[in-house]
């Protein structure tokens, strides 16, 4: 899949981009958490990793691992996480990660590798 940005930052292109990245992050999250737990779970931009998804900190390590693999060097997850502590990481909303990924990728970037 390849998505062309059709508008400037904050426009329709960005919204589409965020939707696509949210889908990719959700796919990785479902694999990490396990389908039996997420069957009724709606993963949205506003979902928090700790409260809504009940993610263990080691599961966030696994998520970061998958996202590093998916997006490669274009997305600097190490730098993104470097100034947060574990509570700040786990209390983030999914949308904060999605927006970071979107802001890191060139507007015409193709979808993640997997």
């Amino acid at each position: 899949m390849s998505v062309q940005a059709t508008a400037g930052p904050g426009g329709v292109g960005r919204a589409e981009h965020e939707t696509r990245v949210l889908g990719e992050v959700s796919e990785d999250l479902r694999e990490i958490i396990g389908e039996e737990y997420v069957i009724d779970m709606d993963i949205a931009m506003e979902s928090t990793f700790s409260h809504d998804l009940e993610l263990e900190s080691i599961e966030f390590v696994a998520l970061a691992d998958r996202l590093r693999e998916r997006y490669g060097e274009a997305v600097d997850f190490v730098g993104f996480l470097a100034t947060m502590d574990v509570d700040q990481v786990i209390n983030m909303q999914v949308g904060e990660v999605v927006r970071f990924i979107v802001s890191s990728l060139p507007a015409t970037e193709t979808a993640g590798r997997r």
Binding site: S57, F60, V61, D65, D76, F77, V78, A82, V86
Partner: protein, 300 residues
Amino acid sequence: MAEVIANGVRLHVQRLESRAGASADSPIVVMVHGMVMDNISSFYFSLGTNLADAGCDVICYDLRGHGRSERTRGGYRLVDSMADLAGLLDALGVDRPVHVIGNSYGATLALAFGLEFTARVASLTLIEPPFLIEGLGKEMARSLSQILVAMNDDEVEQWLANGAGRAAVRTARAAQRLLAETTIATDMLATPPFSAEALAALRVPVLAVYGENSDIIGQAAGLAALVPDCSLIVLEHHTHMVLREATAYLRTLLNWWLFDRRTPPPPYVREDDRSFATPDWVTQMVPPPDLNAGRRPAVG
């Protein structure tokens, strides 16, 4: 998921580098977490990403039986853990000395590794290491008994069965399985004490960090007295959980230790007005006679 076979065991490893990548002279930093109720994530989020972003080549891993590493039935003696770490460095092709940072039992392991594999170690950072010349195995057993109390308390069990969230249940059940299905408890009891002579001959720089309110603060002075090149930092208002309590300062401290050691260490500035204390049940613990039995040990 990065997995490496080291010393015959499947270990979960995360290698972190800055965006620019590590250069030939970047410090290689290996982080070793604590026992039973701990895993790769404590270092990954506290110092791992931070030091990688600062230019280190960071290796975080789950100890045997912990996190996402293989849970073997046996092999939890200190000598096994050292062989696992040496095997990990071999498997990753690390051929120059590394800076080892350990927390709690991981720090005890780091010190033992520095004594046994001195040529492979550039420096040691020991955060709250249980350290004794006599009775170290008993001290390890005491740490385990604290965990057992936390695990087997009836109210805790009820909470796990009914009210606890998925993450808490998974963490607690993993620790229970490790204690029940492996030899870790008896292996810990058999931990040999350190040799004063070997410590006196250690030529590796050591940074030791303790919390002033830690239940094992009494062990800090002995360590600092025996190790020739030891910088001891004691943090006021902090406990054995200093890695989590004082993450921001430890980041500053480790940046100094790895990149700027010729200058004086950065002063500790307390974050907010928070003060941490060790609960009474931790300090009053008595090791149970058989840790594998999973009975609630006597307290007080």
